[in-house]
């Protein structure tokens, strides 16, 4: 029997994040021949619902309120729970993003249900919805099911492929009103530190620098390569500790966990803590002067050499490839 699955679309800077569409794909799988209902929360998000339907949702529910302009756990939980009460879904999918990580345990607690966090895969096997998720920083994986109540999972960005967009799809959009009140946390200020442009956790290509980058300026060729490939720049803890870049770029056990299609590690030795943040990338390229560097053990392709020679050459080579294409 098909299930009704609600999936939270996450809006940032006026646009839906990719993980929302990946969530629709996960929901579609769980729903089988049931129904996928997109949920959007915010102060002005109605214009975005069609994107969720094009991505595979059957219809959408919107909660709009001035108090939802910025995220608070209280406000978003009240709004989302109002939708859950109305829709009584069999399953809920959210992104395992800063917002999803903060919100999902509260909703699970309110609904007195289980929650599978940080899922990287979902399958329906013998009537059970089975989620795959990394444990021990990706050194192992577990398959997990929800045994009681609503099936609830947060999914890691960049792992479950979105469905093909179908611009001809249409779906009903309804509004749910929720009483948003007694917000106990107030956001006073937001300081944007993360690099503008491509979001590290959702980037398809990441060019990362380590201690070998040697200085803040040393990141420039890496940025050039990342820009060329439509990717983002990341860093090892070593580079952050040495103050070559901001901690917001850090990839690793402490820091971000990323799974891009292509990860280019430049001057990164490959400490186990760093590998925990990137070893599940689809293709890894290592560029390092030290042929014994640990990073070569996880790399698909390696070049032993000085990154300041290799990266500019790569930029030129990719440029000519992109011109041909």
């Amino acid at each position: 029997m098909g299930k009704k699955v609600t999936v939270l679309g996450e809006v940032r800077d006026g646009a839906l994040r990719n993980v929302s569409f990946e969530g629709v794909a996960a929901a579609r799988k769980i729903a089988e021949d049931g129904e996928v209902v997109a949920v959007l929360l915010g102060s002005s998000v109605k214009d975005l619902v069609q994107e969720m339907i094009v991505a595979g949702a059957d219809r959408a529910v919107v909660v709009e309120d001035e108090q939802l302009a910025g995220y608070t756990s209280d406000g978003y939980a009240q709004a989302f729970l109002a939708v859950v009460e109305k829709e009584t879904p069999d399953a809920i999918i959210v992104g395992h993003t800063a917002l999803g990580k903060d919100l999902s345990p509260k909703i699970a607690s309110k609904l007195n249900c289980g929650l599978v966090s940080d899922a990287v895969g979902v399958e329906v096997e013998g009537g059970n919805v089975v989620f795959t998720r990394p444990i021990y920083s990706g050194k192992a994986f577990e398959k997990k099911i929800v045994t009681d109540g609503i099936i609830f999972a947060s999914i890691r960005p960049n792992n479950i492929p979105p469905l093909e967009r179908d611009a001809s799809r249409t779906g009903e959009v309804t509004e749910v009103s929720a009483e948003i009140k007694d917000l106990r946390t107030i956001v006073r200020e937001v300081a944007k530190k993360a690099t503008q442009g491509v979001d590290l956790s959702e980037a398809k290509v990441i060019v990362a620098g380590g201690r070998g980058v040697k200085s803040e300026d040393g990141f420039e060729p890496l940025q050039e390569l990342a820009d060329l490939l439509g990717g983002a720049v990341g860093a090892s803890r070593g580079a952050c500790d040495a103050e070559y870049c901001d901690y917001s770029l850090q990839i690793g056990q402490t820091g971000k966990v990323v799974t891009p299609d292509l990860y280019i590690a430049c001057g990164i030795s490959g400490a186990i803590q760093h590998l925990a943040g990137m070893s599940n990338s689809k293709v890894i390229v290592a560029i390092n002067k030290d042929p014994e560097a640990n990073i070569f053990k996880v790399a698909d392709y390696g070049i032993v050499g000085d990154l300041f020679e290799v990266v500019p050459l790569l930029v030129e080579e990719f440029k000519s490839l992109l011109v041909e294409a």
């Binding site: 756990s73 209280d74 345990p105 929650l115 021990y136 577990e142 402490t254 292509l262 392709y301």
Partner: protein
């Protein structure tokens, strides 16, 4: 201030993971305080030193977690509580742990509860917010700065690299992100003192909890290791031709560009 820290005993970061009988093999492994919980312990000690009061560290686990509790006491916490579920529970999940912790904390009149934002073993990050919800207090996750003035709490929160400054009121639960502080190492006198500090051991019965009330709502059906990666190709030849080859491989073989 009445300060509580939620602490978890975890595998050491550097341990190699193997599987035996369908579970993670713990034989001979080193265990530590979950690194994010260490930030919470450190922050709690600093809060007490600045505002007065008492720091109690609490864990749910078995008696082996006593070692990590003693470490927290040696760092400077005042009291420790081990909620030992070994005899009562075969397995649990984040719902289980949160329910037990909340039941313990319910009548403790905590001003602030600190925890790590995620445990490096199971990696869910659920227990902190779940406990806050069960206690009906506000929470802020992944914090990198904490200031308390009277009842007002100002925290800076890491949001995927951006920083949000958030204001809330006591009582509150916060979860620590890297960058909050530099956890101290236990000093030798600290280790000596820790041996005499109170460590209370409780079971579910002591909290008036039945096993059914904390029964897990999720179940692990399989644990497996990622497929071992074949050794990669280190390219050879002139640097120019290596770069050409790499771009061609990424384009034609790996098809990522």
């Amino acid at each position: 201030m009445n300060i509580f820290v939620l602490l978890k005993r975890t595998f050491d970061t550097e341990e190699k993971i193997t599987i035996a009988k369908g579970a993670i093999n713990e034989d001979g492994a080193e265990f530590i305080i979950n690194p994010y919980d260490e930030y919470a312990v450190e922050e709690a000690i600093q809060l007490r030193d600045n505002h007065g009061g008492e720091v109690t560290v609490v864990t749910v686990g078995n008696e082996e977690a006593e070692k990590q509790l003693r470490t927290a006491l040696a760092m400077g916490a005042d009291k420790a509580v081990l909620i030992n579920t070994e005899d009562d529970l075969e397995s649990g999940d984040q719902f289980t742990t949160a329910k037990i912790l909340a039941q313990y904390l319910e009548d403790k009149e905590a001003d602030i509860i600190l925890a790590g934002n995620v445990a490096i073993d199971s990696g869910s990050g659920q227990v902190g917010p779940r406990v806050a919800d069960l206690l009906d207090i506000p929470y802020v996750t992944t914090i990198t700065k904490l200031e308390i003035s009277g009842e007002t709490v100002t925290v800076v929160r890491d949001v995927e690299g951006d920083s949000e400054t958030i204001e809330t009121k006591l009582p509150v639960l916060v979860t620590a992100q890297q960058g909050l502080n530099e956890p101290r190492y236990p000093s030798l006198p600290g280790i000596m003192k820790a041996k005499k500090k109170p460590l209370e051991e409780l079971e579910l019965d002591d909290l008036d909890l039945d096993e059914d009330e904390v029964e897990a709502k999720t179940k692990v059906v399989e644990i497996f290791l990622p497929p071992t990666k074949e050794a990669g190709r280190v390219l050879e030849g002139e640097l120019d031709s290596q770069v050409k080859e790499l771009v061609s491989l990424l384009h034609k073989e790996a098809k990522v560009i």
